[in-house]
């Protein structure tokens, strides 16, 4: 399977890259522009089956086993926010990408790009937070790298983590695995991370006890895979772009439709209040410690029950199902009973006044 290197000349899709001679913030937002960048620049250039699977990590054969390999970079601002920091996020995010492939995390790497002038004390705080997070996830950081860039060129610090994990036999979790009839389980209350970060952002500050839900999900996922490996078709952590973006990606990859029930989506009161205040839809706000599981209908109740036994999953709920209708499109039944499309956003969701 080889593809031509990218050429803008023949681009006919609705989002040709030539329309954006410069990268914008929206290209990193997790919505349409991010997808466009990946689909039209990176995937054709690197051209590998593991990439075209569009999963959170690459699944590669290694002798008799399968390993999962993933990487993520962390540029969150502010560096420290209620319930977390860039360091903990960097560990949890990569652990979770491995977990969403159904892989037990084995080891992590940590790369730092630090701006000249960055406070040593803050770097220590971040590093110690990473160490704590890694110990909490029972995964060691075994290698890394450090670079320093000129003052003004680095916004404090950027962190990259990569992770390696092992996938047990019988476990097959990938976006294309969703099937009509499957149930969609959400492991808990959404949008906490995005709201926690926003609450300390200059120009929008508000007081809240909402903390980021940043957490490692492997030991929430492990018991489900041990007992129901054949029933779990897709695992995905809805990070940037929120639940709506994650489900849209899966619907497109699997060629299926989905219907969610708005009334069943767990959201805590404070997050709801913050979203109402800013005019944000919680379904598009980032999470860092939540998991979507798309599973066979007969096992759905049992799996949801298992998730609820874990402290991170106490508010787990079945929130929708996969359908054969409107493939590639996710729909939402609103609280007043009508059905509407839950589309992929083009860029960041912005607070509104109107």
């Amino acid at each position: 399977m080889s593809r031509e290197p990218p050429s803008f000349a023949g681009a006919s899709c609705p989002l040709p890259l030539r329309d954006y001679p410069k990268i914008q913030m929206a290209h990193g937002g997790g919505g349409r522009l991010t997808q466009s960048l990946i689909d039209h620049l990176f995937l054709p250039a690197f051209d590998h089956a593991a990439l075209w699977a569009r999963h959170d990590g690459a699944v590669l054969p290694l002798g008799d086993c399968r390993v999962a390999f993933t990487t993520d970079s962390y540029v969150v601002r502010p560096l420290f926010f209620p319930g977390g920091d860039i360091g903990a996020l960097a560990v949890h995010g990569t652990v979770n990408d491995l977990a969403m492939c159904g892989a037990r995390p084995l080891a992590l790497s940590a790369g730092f790009i630090i701006e000249e002038g960055f406070a040593m004390e803050e770097l220590a705080r971040i590093t110690n937070s990473m160490a704590r997070a890694a110990r909490g996830c029972h995964v060691p950081v075994v290698t890394g790298d450090t670079k320093v860039v000129d003052r003004g060129k680095g916004d404090g610090v950027y962190v990259n983590t990569a992770g390696l994990g092992v996938i047990a036999d019988g476990v097959e979790c990938q976006p294309a695995g969703a099937r009509p009839g499957d149930r969609i389980i959400l492991s808990g209350e959404i949008a906490a991370h995005g709201i926690a970060v926003l609450s300390v952002r200059e120009g929008i500050e508000f007081d809240t006890t909402v903390e980021s839900d940043s957490a490692g999900l492997w030991n929430l996922v492990e018991p489900i895979l041990e007992r129901h490996a054949a029933d779990v078709h897709v695992l995905r952590d809805p990070t940037r772009g929120g639940v709506a973006s994650a489900l849209n990606e899966i619907a497109t990859a699997a060629g299926v439709g989905m219907v969610l029930d708005e009334a069943l989506i767990p959201v805590c009161e404070q997050v709801r209040g913050a979203c109402e205040l800013l005019g944000l839809d919680p379904l598009y706000v980032a999470n860092e410690g939540k998991c979507l599981a798309i599973v066979t209908p007969d096992a759905a109740d049992a799996i949801a029950g298992l998730i609820r036994q874990h402290p991170l999953g106490s508010r787990a709920a079945i929130v929708g199902e996969v359908v054969a209708d409107h493939p590639g499109t996710v729909c939402l039944r609103s609280t007043i009973g009508s059905l509407r499309i839950l589309d992929l956003l083009s860029g960041e969701q912005l607070p509104r006044i109107c």
Binding site: D207, T208, Q270, R272, G273
Partner: protein, 93 residues
């Protein structure tokens, strides 16, 4: 226009310029809000907030009137569709 959200007043004070300010809770999330246009607000009131300003106090009684209209309109509809009923006429509005 426009996004204005109801919240509960939890604190009120004057700032250094003599402008009335306060904190309002939206489902537990609190934000600094300017009360220059609602000086009569009290702690415990529900107010509508738009871009950081309290614009109006929500009248509890009027808030319930929405449901009175709903009932009146609904009863009227039932009266019309129920041939045995002799009731009719305009509602409270």
């Amino acid at each position: 226009m426009c996004l204005a959200v109801p919240g509960k007043v939890i604190e009120l004070r004057d700032d250094e310029a003599g402008v009335r300010m306060g904190r309002v809770s939206f489902g537990g999330v609190t934000k600094e809000v300017c009360f220059a246009y609602l000086p009569e607000a009290s702690v415990g009131d529900y107010v509508l907030v738009h871009v950081g300003f309290a614009l109006n106090r929500i009248d509890e009684q009027e808030a319930r009137r929405v449901f009175e209209l709903l009932d009146a309109a609904s009863d009227l509809h039932e009266a019309r569709t129920d041939p045995s009923s002799g009731e009719g006429g305009e509602g409270v509005w």
